[in-house]
Symmetry: C4
Subunit: 197 residues, 4 copies
């Protein structure tokens, strides 16, 4: 099985997840600026989840450039990741509608943690398949960012129990940390081309 | 007509079906853990239907690797399958919102049965087209899993009339049975490559 | 501009139109069979619109196999067709929710008529571009089915003013008429291959 | 990173944005013509936003024909544009549901302005990457239409403060201005082919 159809299907699902969140935004009930401002937190949480799905799409795309063959294990761990990401519209809407109460913010953090674990499982399934000196394992190297993210989510979840807004701030910081594009795959491809050229 | 555009369209429809189910999940009305737990069955039924659509996508993809040419019959039996699958968000939501009452669980089972029949019609349309010694018929062989699934759905539907939860359990077992990837197509392709090589 | 990206975008929009109609289906309010049966007309109108979008996808795909180059005119008449088709979930839901009252059934018929006109404009834009002896004009020939459909829609709309259910029956007959696959394009391609071979 | 997957993902998101707006249309509550006419403004605003997303899809497609390589900057400014466009279903629904009150119409205008700015950022990111004599910068030339649009949006927003309907009229004029297809990219490609031929 080639990666192209798996990538196309994943792109489709990610495109839908990133877009249907806007359907959860409640259209303001009145025609005034205060009515709109009451939706402002909804817009900000939508932006946060939009950025997260964008990050996953970006990293997913980079990762699959180093995958040659799709096995049953890769296919199902990929669907596992898509399932976790598909819950984001649900947890985002709950967090916003309950005005950042403790439990919804913790749940949102757990959702982010779940996505990170699902991504890690997918990545591990691929590297196991390719061997420890395969292209993906070599490109990833020590992978500090990916290893630290789950720990920071846990910090965010604990912080939420004290001050909910602090949790949201910490989730935002992880997103900003990932906005910096991951050049490892590009570097691997470039050095590989050089070696061959 | 080439298979590529039919596959792309089917992928699009399946990606939307698998994702819009999350829109049917009702965001908890309150901010507490018990509020979330009341949505827990919704999450589990969503997971079950997600896995089923994932299985169909996977099998659909494998099957079309052995199809060379799309006829009018294949096109319309494919749309028939997509129609049956597109009812899953509807029957899933009903089953969950009525807390696994008998009739909704039976209806969900009938929907799964309908999908299996539609898939069988699509498969038969293709093999008729290719002849009994065509690539798909050869690859499928005795096809025990596909032949037993409809029977197990019927068992599940009957069991629901006694104990609704038993029906859901049986539907889940069929899903798990299919999670094991179907290697027949891969085996056919591999042996075919070998024979040619 | 190549046709591939226009086809991919159209496929995406058609896949969404055909699938989101299921979101308009109201999940039955109670857990019994009569509750489900009250949704039965919704399922049948969904099926009718599903078949119509399937027919347009099928014909659209066949037509674009004979288009080499996309002009601004083709692009915008294609978007016009997609707009008309995207109204189907709206008119379908209205027709069903108002239990086939006269005005909604007339409106649904007008929507079908609008789609047929938009398709005809798209087709004419392409043939004008290719000339009267271009591949599409040659393949279409006298085009009886396409020329009679708008007339039958008008008959259906008028019939609705007498008996609403008669209108729905006539719209269904047009759909069945189109379910028979259009072999003209295939025949053109086959004869063209023959002539070249 | 090749442009093909970024284009496919953008196409997916744009196809969803353009189609889900129809879900925001409220199905008329009664079965009569006046009930339908009460939805008429909804249909017209949907048409306006549909045309805007169509224009962006068209221009996006033309622009990326001149892009060879996707950098992190291009990727994120593209996601920025998609985010701004994904807010259109929200602002369109608000403007319509509040019957063209001043604040919602101003907000819709600001959304259009935001999209224009995001598009300009994406375009600038690409031209910076290619250099001032790169293909895109050369093809764009003086770019009068793109430079005047934001100014006209501002005029529309100010006009709304006086007469809301005037704002909507001005937004419509900008859309009509863009409906005329942009031939600069096609001209560049044609002249480039000529020079090479």
């Amino acid at each position: 099985m080639k990666t192209s159809r798996l990538e196309a299907f994943s792109d489709g699902v990610l495109a839908i997840i990133i877009t249907i969140m806007v359907l959860e935004l409640r259209v303001p009930a009145g025609p005034t600026l205060p009515d709109l401002l009451r939706s402002a937190t909804g817009l900000l949480t939508y932006l946060l989840s939009f950025v997260y799905v964008g990050i996953y799409w970006n990293n997913h795309h980079h990762m699959f450039q180093l995958v040659g063959r799709v096995t049953g294990g890769i296919l199902w761990s990929n669907l596992g990741l898509l399932f976790c990401l598909s819950l984001l519209p649900f947890t985002t809407a709950w967090m916003d509608q309950q005005r950042f109460a403790t439990t919804p913010v913790v749940t949102y953090g757990l959702n982010l943690l779940l996505c990170a674990i699902a991504y890690w499982i997918l990545q591990t399934t691929i590297t196991h398949n390719q061997g420890t000196d395969g292209p993906l394992a070599t490109a990833l190297g020590r992978d500090l960012k990916a290893k630290s993210s789950p720990a920071i989510y846990v910090v965010g979840i604990v912080a939420t129990l004290l001050v909910p807004w602090l949790g949201v701030a910490i989730y935002t910081i992880v997103a900003l940390m990932w906005l910096v594009p991951d050049r490892r795959v590009e570097r691997y491809l470039a050095s590989h081309d050089l070696a061959e050229g």
